[in-house]
């Protein structure tokens, strides 16, 4: 026997209360010196045994009342006492695998002739089960794909209606999280009031998932479910048809899928051009003509048709120009009809931002084109606008003379480049130092006009200035860049090859200050390990030093292809962008590590805003997205952005069409102590034939009622009020007189 509310069973110890009261009362009594002992003695002789028996019975009843009350509330369940399942209400937790593979289309035809995917098929089966549940049953649905979603405490009829929403659901879940979903289901069943508790796992049992980890996991789960206070039975309902399970080779089917979507560059400005490369795969034996569609949100942007040879891959490139400076979800869709339409689309979140403003202070500005250092830098930062007159550059630039700028101009600037600047006065140095500390990017390009002795007289970085070390005067030096295995700024291989072909004729060398608390980072070095590009973090920003000029006086670098990306990456790195950025696959948890904020306001795509209290420097789980889009977390005024999109690596594996064969599924079920059902009818028949423990609380309540009446009866029979009727009339006036003279 077990108890559904085992904790309340401890209330049975309350039987000691009447016992203690009884014992206490026994120890207390009055003492009376009594005359009429002859009547009392006779009464005791007659009644003692009967009264003792009655009192003991009354005590027993009073002890039994709290015991029965506690047991009735604890809801005892005798498992060896069988009862038919069909009449007993049950709690059913349905764990529905809604991972991507469940969107595969079944072979069965729907009523209106449309093909139904496995989710729709599973929903129909579940609805049938919910309709047939005994009266008083309750049910819940746990969507097992990452992140799991629970529809708990629903009446079977309401739940059945709600399940219809799954048929048209556009949200995509991650892989099946069996462990977490089963734990949620078990905890819901634990709180259930019904003695029959069942966990029904509805899945297509994809071979790639179930053959490896889930098999061991399901065995462990079976043990955990069986070891519960009230054991939880579980069974498998196969959402895939036997015909689908019989397909052993995915290649035998016609299937076109999108493997990956990449955007170049990763960031873009409004009106800029973004190249989106889509890799497609044709797994069939015949070539396929696939119309490809690029969508921005719900709007179609571009449509292309591509022919993919049999068993090969192909790449389609779209060029997309964003119109607004906001993070945008783009979707690539293959308008092709095959058995797995769920792999015909893929989403990507693209970051679109306003161009960064760069102020170029040129110490040797000339009127002729391409004679000043600033001309080369401008060309590197704004190639589209300068060469083609088109928008789309990541930066906008303005050039001023050494004395032509002030503190106010820095406030509206993201980065500053000082080219061939002879010297800076103390106020200017102070302004620039404050600018970098606020998060601005600063680049010093040395040159022939630089007065090294004045430069070396500046305040050191550790003293609140900008000097990184002692520079030597510009000397002739012939050499090149040192090749390195981990180049800075993630430059492409072509750019790196280009960088190694740079030849220098003059340079400045640097001796670093010993007093620097944070050692500077040498991003690119010369052959003799002298730094070519060195930087140091100051406050929230970063300051770069280039030891040669940025024009063609000291090297041929400006004429090399690497010059443009190098300067752009350098400024991109130097400038502190408004917020961090990363793309998270659907179903994965977005974790941030905010440094200062104490409160975060988090909104994920398709979900309501949540307020989270956080501890500084401790990673925090911001939630898991089920819907593609851009989530944001507000840490004070700072924004944390996160894009959610399907992961291309997972998709290939998730969409493998091979399912567990029936015999493999049987083996899995046997090891997990579960039964396998191919449809709802089979499961319902099996459940009806099963037997379960019988709950006894009704009998306990009846027993309790009977004890109450017995207690009242006994109490009445022992109380003086009941014996008052037998009191003889008072003999005070009974004067018995004899007649005079009768003797």
């Amino acid at each position: 026997m077990t108890f559904l509310n085992a904790l309340l069973a401890f209330g049975a110890t309350a039987f000691s209360v009447p016992l203690i009261i009884h014992l206490l009362n026994r120890s207390k009594y009055l003492t009376i010196d009594w005359g009429a002992m002859q009547f009392l003695d006779a009464s005791v002789k007659v009644n003692s045994r009967r009264i003792q028996w009655k009192q003991l019975l009354l005590l027993l009843i009073r002890c039994l009342i709290p015991v029965l009350l506690a047991l009735a509330m604890a809801r005892p369940l005798i498992q060896t006492w069988k009862d038919t399942a069909g009449s007993t209400p049950m709690s059913l937790a349905i764990l529905l695998d809604d991972s991507l593979s469940m969107q595969s289309v079944n072979d069965k035809q729907g009523r209106i002739g449309e093909k139904r995917n496995r989710i729709q098929q599973a929903v129909a089966q579940i609805q049938k089960i919910l309709e047939e549940l005994p009266a008083g049953s309750d049910a819940s649905v746990i969507l097992g794909g990452k992140p799991i979603e629970m529809w708990a405490q629903h009446q079977p009829s309401e739940l059945s209606k709600r399940l219809l929403a799954l048929n048209d659901r556009t949200e995509s879940a991650g892989r099946l999280d069996l462990s977490e979903a089963a734990r949620s289901a078990a905890s819901w069943l634990e709180k259930s009031s019904n003695p029959r508790r069942h966990l029904l796992l509805v899945s297509d049992f994809q071979a790639s998932e179930w053959k490896s980890t889930q098999q061991d996991l399901s065995r462990d789960l079976a043990k955990q479910l069986a070891s519960r206070n009230v054991p939880i039975a579980w069974s498998f309902l196969n959402a895939a048809t036997p015909a689908e399970a019989a397909v052993k080779d995915a290649a035998s089917e016609t299937n076109v899928s999108i493997l990956s979507v990449e955007s170049i560059p990763s960031q873009v400005v409004p009106q800029g051009k973004l190249t989106i490369s889509v890799t497609l795969q044709n797994d069939s034996q015949e070539a396929a003509q696939v119309p490809m569609v690029l969508m921005e949100g719900l709007d179609e942007v571009e449509r292309q048709s591509v022919t993919i040879a049999a068993n090969s891959t192909s790449t389609v490139r779209f060029v997309w120009s964003p119109t607004k400076a906001e993070d945008t979800l783009i979707k690539v869709f293959a308008d092709y009809d095959d058995a797995s339409p769920q792999d015909h689309s893929m989403t990507k979140v693209v970051r679109v931002r306003e161009p960064a403003k760069v102020l170029i202070i040129d110490g040797d500005r000339k009127r002729e084109a391409m004679q000043s250092e600033s001309d080369f830098v401008r060309l590197a930062l704004t190639p589209f606008s300068l060469l083609r007159g088109e928008p789309g550059d990541l930066f906008t630039t303005s050039v001023v003379d050494p004395g032509g700028w002030n503190e106010a101009m820095l406030k509206d600037t993201d980065g500053v480049i000082c080219c061939n600047l002879p010297d800076l006065n103390p106020d200017q140095r102070k302004s620039l130092r404050a600018f970098v500390e606020r998060g601005g990017g600063l680049l010093f390009c040395l040159g022939d006009k630089v007065q090294v002795d004045k430069l070396n007289a500046w305040e050191s970085i550790s003293e609140g200035g900008l000097r990184i070390g002692a520079w030597t005067t510009r000397t002739a030096w012939e050499g090149s860049i040192k090749p390195t295995s981990s180049p800075a700024f993630e430059l492409s291989k072509a750019s790196l090859d280009s960088l190694s072909s740079a030849r220098f004729v003059a340079r400045n060398t640097l001796k670093l200050d010993d007093a620097l608390t944070t050692p500077p980072v040498t991003s690119i070095a010369y052959q003799d390990d002298q730094p070519f590009l060195i930087s140091a973090a100051i406050g929230a920003g970063r300051c770069f030093w280039m030891s040669s000029s940025c024009d063609d006086d000291d090297s041929n670098l400006p004429s090399l292809p690497v010059f443009l990306p190098l300067v752009q990456r350098m400024m991109t790195t130097a400038i502190r962008w408004p917020a961090g950025w990363k793309e998270t696959p659907l179903g994965e948890t977005w974790i941030e590590n905010p440094s200062q904020a104490t409160k975060l306001s988090v909104q994920l795509p398709g979900l309501t805003t949540r307020e989270l209290a956080i501890e500084p420097n401790k990673p925090i789980d911001l939630g898991t997205g089920r819907l593609e889009g851009v989530g944001q977390a507000m840490a004070g005024e700072r924004r944390l952005y996160n894009g959610f999109a399907t992961s291309s690596a997972d998709r290939k594996q998730e969409l493998a069409r091979t399912l567990l064969a029936p015999e493999e599924l049987e083996t899995l079920a046997k090891s997990a102590s579960a039964s396998v059902h191919n449809d709802a009818d089979h499961w319902l028949n099996q459940e009806r034939s099963n037997s379960n423990g019988k709950e006894l609380w009704t009998w306990f309540w009846l027993g309790l009622l009977a004890l109450f009446f017995a207690e009242m009866f006994l109490q009445q029979s022992l109380s003086p009020r009941s014996s008052k009727a037998a009191v003889p009339s008072a003999p005070s006036n009974a004067i018995n007189t004899t007649k005079r003279g009768a003797a």
Partner: protein, 349 residues
């Protein structure tokens, strides 16, 4: 300390103490008719009561019973003249009957007027009146020492003493002889009946000094009493009558056969009649120290009352069969009122 000295002109002269909380008020005493009781106040520094009886016999009670007359229903044998019918026929004013003259009758008792009318000799007979010999038989067994919550701390024995005192006063005041017997398992004190006023003091002192103890042996005691009651008279039994009812009436019937008119005052406490106890109680016997019962009174009440009722019924039947006046009395009742009621009832019967 203040005290009162009462003088009773008809029966007793003595001094007694008024307790600090007297049962009657001074003002009440002052308004009594001085013809029946006169009193005077005597102040003294120290006072020793010469008679503890007056704890029991209050002037108010004497006042109430002094007007009563307890007459014998049966003819009695007295030695002096009195108010009761004598078994002897003698010179009196109360004509009884005529009977034919026989040889040996006194010539002077012949009714000559009737001889003139009928020419036959008849003797005129007159009824004689005499006094009565009353014996108060007071139970002083242990069971008489019970006082319940509703009896103002008055034990049954106290009640019996008060009642006996009143009766003794009553008999003495109507020139009858009164005697006293106290008993428990046997007769402890026996004072033969006397009619002298001083004899009342002796009886009352004996009553006042009696103490309750021991068991009751009513049957045996009454059997012993036979030897003391050889002449016709009153036997007034004051007891709770606990014990064997059959034995009691066996002895009482013998007394009755010995020409004794018997009054049975059965004195009971309210608690004994109603048995109102509810909590768990240890009952210790007043007669046998070693006898005690720890019981739940509520559960025993019904049986107890049945037993008690049966006993009372047996006593009532026994009294009826033996023509004994049975007066059941509760200690919560006023004994003078009980006495008045009884005598009034007796007069009507």
């Amino acid at each position: 300390m203040s005290f009162l000295e009462f003088r009773f002109p008809t029966c007793y002269h003595g001094t007694f103490n008024i307790p600090p909380n007297p049962p009657f008020g001074l003002a009440e005493a002052l308004v009594y008719p001085t013809s029946a009781i006169y009193f005077k106040f005597v102040l003294a520094r120290t006072f020793v009561s010469s008679n503890p009886l007056f704890r029991w016999l209050k002037p108010t009670d004497i006042q109430k019973v002094s007007a009563l007359q307890l007459l014998a229903k049966d003819v009695v044998e007295g030695v002096t003249g009195g108010i009761h019918r004598s078994r002897h026929i003698g010179a009196s004013v109360d004509f009884k009957e005529h009977r034919p003259y026989v040889h040996g009758d006194e010539i002077r008792s012949i009714d000559w007027k009737l001889f003139g009318k009928t020419d036959r000799l008849y003797i005129r007979q007159y009824e004689d009146e005499t006094n009565v010999r009353a014996t108060l038989v007071v139970d002083q067994s242990g069971s008489m020492n019970y006082s319940g919550s509703r009896s103002n701390r008055l034990t049954k024995h106290d009640y019996a003493i008060r009642l006996a005192s009143c009766l003794a006063y009553l008999f003495v005041s109507q020139q009858d002889s009164v005697g006293l017997v106290t008993f428990d398992t046997a007769i402890r004190k026996h004072i033969p009946p006397r009619a002298r006023p001083n004899h009342l003091r002796v009886c009352l002192e004996t009553l006042a000094n009696s103490e309750c103890q021991g068991e009751t042996e009513l049957g045996g005691v009454l059997h012993q009493l036979l030897s003391f009651c050889r002449k016709r008279g009153f036997v007034i039994l004051l007891s709770d009558c606990y014990g064997n009812a059959a034995e009691l009436f066996k002895s009482l019937s013998m007394l009755r056969a010995n020409y004794q008119e018997i009054l049975l005052f059965q004195i009971m406490d309210d608690d004994e009649v109603d048995f109102p106890f509810q909590n768990r109680t240890l009952f210790r016997s007043l007669e046998l120290k070693e006898q005690q019962l720890l019981v739940d009174p509520m559960s025993l009440r019904k049986t107890y009352l049945n037993n008690f009722n049966n006993h009372q019924e047996a006593i009532q039947n026994g009294c009826r069969q033996n023509r004994i006046d049975w007066i059941p009395v509760r200690t919560s009742e006023s004994f003078s009122a009980v006495l008045s009621t009884y005598i009034a009832h007796r007069g009507q019967a």
